[in-house]
Amino acid sequence: MIAIRDLRFAWTDGPFQLQIPRLEIARGEAAVLAGPSGCGKTTLLNLICGILSPAAGLVEVAGTDLGRLSDADRRLFRLRNIGLVFQDFQLIDYLDVLGNVLLPCRIQPAVKLTPAIHERGLDLLNQVGLANFSQRPVTRLSQGERQRVALCRALLLNPLLLLADEPTGNLDPENSRRMVELLLQESRRSGATLIMVTHDHSLLPMFDRTLPFLQYLARTDGTEAGASA
């Protein structure tokens, strides 16, 4: 599903540098990226979903080399094939629950809101137990309900890849565990590959695989960040 070769990325204003000689994640695999906050995990997710472009190397998702796509095509590819769950879920306050779930169909002219997709949105809400909340403003939802709305939004277009960027960052241990269970359950149900970023090491055993993220870090002064960690 994901193939990375000789990837190099660096921010221009800091010593941070990411180097990934080789990384492969299979279709349907549930992988986790663990590491302390601010160490660059989100950057790797952004490279995988095409929000950031590497300085060198190949990032291939579902057989598509993201580097060969134009900016517009990359955005469309991301919308159609990658579902994103953010740390604070980033729901749109002025839309109700169903409006938030259907949002991906309102932000790209190429992705139309069809009756079938509308039906799928309702079906997803039903699956996560929010069928009766479809017209409710998201501001009146509990944290757990907001998580589920964010997950439904990510799953709406049947993504091949589900990227979750510290979705448990602001949650207590109990809710963190529930969120991960939900992610794993829904990604397995839809057959999507899951990559989740977390700094909570207690969650790692729940995943198929933990990516050796610290090995990918290097400093511009030549010292291996992972080696010193």
């Binding site: 929000i51 900016d71 955005r75 994103l84 839309l95 409006g99 949002l103 932000i107 002219p109």
Partner: protein, 400 residues
């Protein structure tokens, strides 16, 4: 674009207090100068049309503008009057129709309906102004009147009703008494000051002024209740009681008793409208009265042009201030929109990360601004249409 509008509408509704504040601020910015301009143009065209249709006005010396305002728009009172003799002088000029005007009284104000000017004139006035009754007929007898359409509407009076004149000075017992006039008709709307006036014949106007009068027969035979004291044997010497009407009314029974004292040629007029048949007649008439110290003979279009030049200067000032206010309001609006965009930055970032196209981001922001602007423009247009009918009239009241 539908999705962009959908999201923009939901966003504006969610932030409805802020949206309404922006919409109304914008509406005022659009409405104020536009309405002012429309109203001034309408005012200018109405006032000019009336002046252009009135070639010459003859009146007592004094302010030219006051004389025009009085004779054309029934506003302001000339300090002195002319007489029927001056009217006769104009009327005997070859190729001139002279229309006398007497306008020194108004009807009595009622709750919700301010009094209208009572214009005493001759039938030539109706012909000259092309005024025809919409209902009823023009006054023919002493004590009758016809109402302008607007006054009839706001006072709720119509054919067959009566209307009272208002005395100029209630404390002057020897002066003018209110006259109750019979309404014989209502004029068709003319979209001019005639719509807000009451027309009667000259003699009725003079009766209101106290120059002509009748006699109410107050004696022991007619109605003893009208007498305060009738204990004296002399039938001619009675003291009238409170039951004596505090106004005059000309009826079929007492019409013949009305009469005028004094020399008819000295009866007062407040102005004479002169309508020369040709340009040559007009020049001859102007020449005839140009040397007079007792009269002034003026051409209303010229006077109105002078007045409008003053209005135009005022308009420039008003527009300048409006533009300055609009500039300040637009700056504030830009600040509000900028802050709004900053508040929505996180939302835009989410959409971008999900895969939103650059064009959609632009569309979302444009739809927001477009909806605000169109809503504001809609309100401004509605306000403009509402104000259009009243603003010009209001300006006339303020400026004339």
């Amino acid at each position: 674009m539908n999705s962009a509008f959908y999201l923009a509408i939901r966003s504006l509704w969610w932030h409805r207090s802020r949206s309404l504040a922006v919409i109304f601020s914008l509406a005022i910015i659009i409405w104020l100068p536009a309405t002012l301009r429309i109203a001034l143009n309408q005012f200018r065209s109405e006032i000019s049309a009336r002046a252009l249709s009135t070639p010459i006005v003859i009146g007592a010396p004094g302010s030219r503008i006051d004389l025009v305002m009085h004779s054309l728009y029934f506003r302001s009172q000339p300090a002195t009057t002319v007489t029927m003799a001056e009217h006769a002088l104009a009327a005997e000029s070859v190729g001139v129709t002279a229309v006398p005007l007497h306008m020194r009284f108004t009807t009595r104000s009622q709750p919700g309906a301010e009094g209208a000017p009572i214009v005493g004139t001759t039938p030539e006035y109706f012909t000259f102004r092309r005024l025809t009754p919409q209902s009823g007929e023009l006054p023919a007898l002493l004590g009758e009147c016809v109402l302008g359409a607007d006054y009839a509407e706001r006072s709720g009076l119509g054919t067959g009703d009566t209307v009272l004149s208002a005395p100029r000075n209630a404390l002057n017992l020897a002066g003018d008494y209110p006259l109750r006039m019979l309404i014989t008709g209502v004029l068709a709307r003319n979209h001019s000051p005639d719509d807000d006036a009451v027309f009667t014949d000259l003699r009725t106007a003079w009766v209101i002024e106290g120059i002509g009068h009748g006699h109410q027969n107050v004696d022991r035979q007619t109605d003893p209740s009208l007498l305060l004291s009738n204990d004296r044997d002399d039938a001619a010497s009675v003291t009238a009681g409170l039951g004596v009407l505090p106004y005059l009314e000309i009826t079929d029974e007492n019409r013949d008793s009305f009469h005028f004292h004094g020399n008819a040629s000295e009866f007062p007029l407040t102005a004479v409208l002169a309508v020369p048949f040709t340009e040559r007649d007009r020049i001859k008439l102007l020449g005839r009265f140009s040397g007079s110290r007792q009269l002034q003979c003026i051409s209303p279009p010229q006077v109105i042009e002078e007045l409008l030049s003053i209005v135009f200067r005022i308009e420039q000032f008003v527009l300048l201030f409006t533009l300055a206010a609009a500039g300040a309001a637009l700056l504030l609006l830009a600040l509000v929109l900028n802050l709004s965009l900053k508040l929505r930055a996180a939302e835009m970032q989410t959409m971008f990360r999900l895969g939103c196209s650059r064009l959609t981001i632009l569309r979302l922001q444009s739809a927001d601004v477009l909806l605000l602007l169109t809503s504001a423009a809609g309100i401004a247009v509605a306000g403009g249409l509402l104000a259009r009918s009243t603003a010009a009239a209001l300006l006339q009241q303020l400026l004339l």
